[in-house]
Each structure stands twice: as structure tokens, then as C-alpha cells.
Subunit: 368 residues, 2 copies
DNA sequence: CTGAAAGCGCTAACAA
DNA sequence: TTGTTAGCGCTTTCAG
């Protein structure tokens, strides 16, 4: 009474060996006689063997990877989207038996060391991290990697550390692209200026540097008339911009490399220069929409937060469950937002998306 | 020593029943006390239970969902990337027990009706399709949907049909974005022209229309000096562009809305106008790279083929396995390629990526 | 009404 | 070098 075998069992029966041997043959594993391997491969070929992927996934899912996530909740504009990308992808990989552990911190760089340490000790296999203060985090990251906990940075890097990978839009590229665009938007010999948050922040420094390098290359005779620091303060940003506009009446363009662009828009309005001076901003949120429509903002460099979140989870899950190696770096290309395509961005489409706390409580309560 | 249970076993443990009972509760099967069912559902809710689809597929041994794919292999530039997006995502969903069936056609719109019909009869649950000739495909699509086979169009739509969803970059948006950009690149009152493939093609018509509508809005006094049809022929494109450049010496910009931009670049070179006239192209492939670096191409509108492929598979898999409803339309925002970010695009990074036939026959994992 | 147990096809650890 | 076996999480059948 022969059973109706399938897959490797069928091959095993035909080759008169055990399924273990068949497995070794098919996967080129060590410890098998070359001649029997050939015989088995032959047979596999003949019956056009295809592995049952569901079975493979099921069997391999023994590992039951757990991924910890440590990212800020503020500023909502950007991090809401980053979280939502993470959660979206988590929904998918959850079906592969991957579990997520969320440890949000309130603000970028604040108390993230504690959160990270907690995660590292909670028995996760990998951690996705927005590295607010790289120096402080570096030893912890190195420590985790030492113990076999893979760390993937997202959006903000800890370049000196031994993290397995980084997913981000290179800040300097953000600046260079803005510079190239600006160089094409304004006439030769134009003067332009940069509005940064705080130049102490590595991110803003690099964006500014990238812009300063690229703009003159693309605008013959073009010059950077000044760099303002708004320190993420509404009034300070407005006032400094307003003053600059008075001081440099020939200004042709403005590049804002922090998310905090509304005061700049208002200053342009107050001077009656909205639409006259080319304004390139960074990131995107609903309140910017009217300024696009009015022509105040010419373009914005979009950093794809949702996608960054997705990719970080995907990378981690692929590595943990499928043993795919980490790419050392994933540099996304920034997107371009202009009035034509504005409506397609999720930030504009569901402006009132709320950060849903319920998703963040993952643990199973042990109450019966 | 409690075991590390998962899934229905976990629920069974928490509810102090057997997995059989849990199964009955979860599936609304008969033969279970209503109160225990409620208790079980309650617990399932609390631990946010999601069934392991691989296990389900394996157990039921009914192959999970099967997704058919019917897309062209030519022109490589674009469709290589589309395929690669599909294959990438297929790798993931394979682990959920989803199987793929590939039926590539050689050229867009040629013999796709046959391929589609074949797929529809092969017992797939969904078909991903690049609808080359919408009219011919419409009845087949409607028929498939009638039978419960969901159809998702990708890149090229069959808008009149009953397909469940479409993933694409709207052609008219492509044109509008190009028009807006061009309007900012050239001075007021400039004359610009459009190089299309063939205006009979809906795609090219819409791109041209979008451009023609947007450009004057963003360039006061700007005018479209002409629209050329290159019919995807190298010589014709070159000659017509060359002639145009002679005829309209004041031309300030050129928008190429077909992938076939190299002849245009050459014509600009031949007239000594490379870099003088702003050139906005469509799509991206390795041979364009030097023209970016030389400044001949100012920018290209990128249609994200890889992402389109990914999203189509993702949508289909989400629907088939998780019963998530299809969004009727997924309009991606086109990307912008300029010299600054050129290097980040996969088309440039692995220029010599080959369409690997082996992937089309699911295989045995290779030797180390 | 509920529990126990046998697989689905594959991987991996352990024996022989 | 090869065979055996214990699961992976779910469905299903057969006893209680």
C-alpha cells in the first residue's frame, strides 16, 4: 500500500534514501556522497520538483524573530509617517511569525539610551532605532551587535557605531538636490540664502553644506548671501527671515532645510515677496498645502518617512527570517513635491491621521 | 516549565480549552457553546491574534492564493524594473503560501489576450496585468472578474474594464509635473516644445495634454511652439528634433514624454544646444547617465517601475490572503531625477542587470 | 459540545 | 555518510 507522497518524500522514495539525504542534496549541504547527490538531483529534475514555500516558511519560522523599535513620537509631522511605515510593514511580517516590540521615546535624542537598553535586554533579535544622539548610543549599539542583536538605524544615523545597516535620505544629498534645483530656478548671478534649524545639528549642517556646494555649480555666478539659524523657534525664524529679506533686497531664492518652514512663508508674505522669491522647503505636512497653492513654496524636498519605516522593518525581517545579508547602507532618493503632485502625498491626503496609542502596547498580558 | 506557545495554542492555553475548540470559535463553526466562543474571541482579540497563513496553506494543502502575472519583457528599460519589483515582493508573499504564475509576453499589447486567457483558465485567484490594448482585454478582464478572479492593472490601465485596481503614475500628472518644472526653469514668455512617441497612444496623448495645460500656468506668457511625434524611431526622432531646433531658434525647453530620448539628446548636441535648452525627459536607463552629467538632460520624470510592480503584488496578496479591500486606484507620485540623485536609482546602479529567466521557474536553492 | 491526534512538506538536530 | 525524529501552526477527523 503505497502512500501518495509529494515533495521531498517522493524524491526520497524514488531514490530509495531518506528525506534527510534529499534535503542535503537539494541544498548542497555537506555530508553526502557526491554520487547519491547527483542521483537525487537528477530525480528532482525529472519530476520537476518545486519546494512548497509555505512548508518551508512554516518550518523555518521556528526562530520566531522579535524586532524592537525605538523611535520618537515628536515632531509629529515626520515621525507619524515613519511610525506608520513601520506599523504597515509590521502587519505583513507579523504573518511570518515576526513579533514587534515598540518603545517610543517622546523626543528625538531624549532618553533613547534608556529605551534602547531596555529593548536590548528584553530578548529581541533586532532593534530599529532613530539615533538621536549618536555618541551616547554608540556603545550601546556596539554592545548589542556584540551580543548578536542586529541594529538598523533609520532616518538618523549613528555612523561610527557597528550598526548593521542604515536607512535614510542622505542629508547632504537633500541639500545638493535643493541646490541643483535652485540653481535652475533662479537666473545666473543670483543671491540665495539658507534657513537652517541649528547648525550644531549634524543633519542641518550637512544639508547646508550640500546646498552650498551644489548651488554655485548649477547657477553660474550664484552666491549664498547668508545662512540663518531659526533654532526651531517660530518667532526667531520669522524675525530673522524678515530681517534678511530687508537686508538683501535682491535675494532670489531661499532654502529651508528644517521642517519649520511656516514662519519663513509668513515672512515672505509680510514682505510682499511670496511667489517672487523661489522657496524650496524640506519635508511635508498639511499646513504647507495653502502655501503650495499660492505659489509661495516652489518645491519641497520630501524625505519619504513612510518608506523609510517600511524599509527598515523589511530589512530586519528579511535578515532575521530569511538570513538575507544586510545592505550596509540604504540611501533613498528624496522625492520632489510641487503643486502638481502635492495631492498624492499621504501627509496631505489624510491630514488628520492620529497616532494611535493602542498599537504600541504589544505585550500579552499574562492574565488568564 | 511552560512552553512558548503561539497562535491558536496560545489562545487554547489562555482559555483553558483545546485547540480544536479554538478553531471552532475562530471560524464560527458549529458545535460550540456560545459563551465559550465569546470568551475565546475575547482572548484572540486581546493578544491581537493573526493566523499564520503559511501554516494554514500548508495544512489545507490547498495551495494558498495563486497570483498570475502578465507583463511585457520589452522594452527592457522600463519592464525589467517592473518585473524586478514583482519578483521582489513575490519572494516575501511566497512565505505566506502565495504562489506566483508568470506568463510574460514579449511586447506590450502583443498577444497579451492569449496569455491572459491562459492565466484565467489556470486556476489563479488573481491576475496582475499590463494592459497593452485595453479594448481587446476589456471583455476578458470583465469575464475574469465575473468568475471571481481579481484583476489588478499595473503601469498601463484598462479604465473601462471592471478591474479591481490600478497601480500607476498618472500620465497626465507626469505631463503636468514636467510642465510645472519647465515653467520654473525657463524665463517668462519662453517657447518650448514636446517630443512624443505617437500621439495615438493614450499615454503619450495625456502626457502631452498635461504638459500643455500646466506649462503656461507656471510660465507667464510661455508658449508651446510645437509637438513632434518620433514614432519611437531613432532617425525620425533625431531628424524632427534637429529640424525643429533650426526652425525655432528661440526655443528654451524640450519635454520628451517617451522613453526614447537619446536621439533628442544627440540632436541638441548636433546643434550645439546641449545644456542651453532645458531638457526634461521621462523614465531612466543607464545610457542616459552621461547626458545628465554633461548637463544635456536637466531632469527626468521617473515613473518608479520597481515600486509599481511591488505594489501590485502587495495589493493582490493583501486582498487574497487578508481580504483587505482593493483601493480602486493607486496613483504613485513620479520621482525626479537630476544629476545630484542620479546615482541612487537602480537603473543606474546595476546597469547590466539581466532579465534572469531562471526566476520564472521556481527552483531549488543553489549550491554554496 | 469538547478533546485528542494525525498529518500538510520542510528544516534541523541528533543518532547510527 | 546516512537515517530518524521532533516540531512549525493550522485544519480535520474521530472519539469521548
Amino acid at each position: 500500500m503505497k502512500k501518495n507522497r509529494r515533495g521531498i518524500h517522493l524524491i526520497a522514495e524514488l531514490a530509495d534514501v531518506s528525506i534527510g539525504t534529499v534535503d542535503r542534496a537539494l541544498h548542497g549541504r555537506a555530508g553526502i556522497n557526491e554520487s547519491t547527490r547527483q542521483r537525487i538531483l537528477q530525480i528532482a529534475q525529472q519530476i520537476a520538483y518545486t519546494p512548497n514555500l509555505a512548508a518551508r516558511a512554516l518550518s523555518a519560522s521556528k526562530t520566531g524573530a522579535r524586532i524592537g523599535v525605538c523611535m520618537p513620537r515628536e515632531i509629529r509631522f515626520f515621525y507619524d509617517q515613519l511610525w506608520s511605515g513601520v506599523l504597515d510593514e509590521a502587519r505583513l511580517v507579523a504573518q511570518l511569525g515576526v513579533q514587534m516590540v515598540y518603545r517610543p521615546v517622546q523626543t528625538l535624542g531624549v532618553e533613547d539610551a534608556e529605551a534602547f537598553k531596555e529593548l536590548a535586554q528584553s530578548g529581541v533579535n533586532g532593534i530599529i532605532l532613530t539615533a538621536g544622539n549618536p555618541q551616547g548610543l554608540k556603545p550601546l549599539i556596539d554592545d548589542a551587535e556584540e551580543k548578536g542583536i542586529r541594529v538598523v538605524c533609520v532616518s538618523t544615523d549613528a555612523p561610527e557605531s557597528r550598526r548593521s545597516s542604515i536607512v535614510c535620505v542622505e542629508p547632504s544629498l537633500n541639500g545638493r538636490l535643493a541646490g541643483e534645483l535652485m540653481g535652475k530656478f533662479v537666473p545666473s548671478g543670483s543671491q540665495v540664502a539658507v534657513v537652517a534649524g541649528m547648525l550644531r545639528a549634524e543633519d542641518h549642517r550637512q544639508k547646508t553644506a550640500g546646498f552650498s556646494e551644489a548651488f554655485p555649480r548649477h547657477c553660474p555666478g550664484g552666491k549664498i548671501a547668508g545662512v540663518i539659524e531659526g533654532h526651531e523657534d517660530e518667532d526667531e525664524s520669522f524675525q530673522k527671515t524678515f530681517d534678511l529679506l530687508g537686508r538683501v533686497p535682491t535675494l532670489a531664492g531661499l532654502y529651508v532645510n528644517t521642517v519649520n518652514c511656516l514662519p519663513v512663508c509668513r515672512a515672505l508674505g509680510a514682505r510682499g515677496l511670496a511667489g517672487k522669491i523661489k522657496l524650496i522647503t524640506t519635508d511635508l505636512f498639511a499646513e504647507m498645502s495653502p502655501y503650495f497653492e499660492a505659489g509661495t513654496i516652489t518645491a519641497s524636498i520630501y524625505q519619504q518617512p513612510h518608506r523609510q519605516g517600511q524599509m527598515a522593518v523589511r530589512l530586519m525581517a528579511d535578515n532575521l527570517t530569511g538570513r538575507l545579508p544586510f545592505p550596509p547602507i540604504v540611501h533613498l532618493s528624496p522625492g520632489l513635491v510641487m503643486s502638481s503632485n502635492l495631492h498624492l502625498f499621504r501627509e496631505i491626503r489624510h491630514a488628520d491621521l492620529k497616532f494611535d496609542d493602542s498599537v504600541l502596547s504589544a505585550g500579552v498580558s499574562s492574565k488568564p
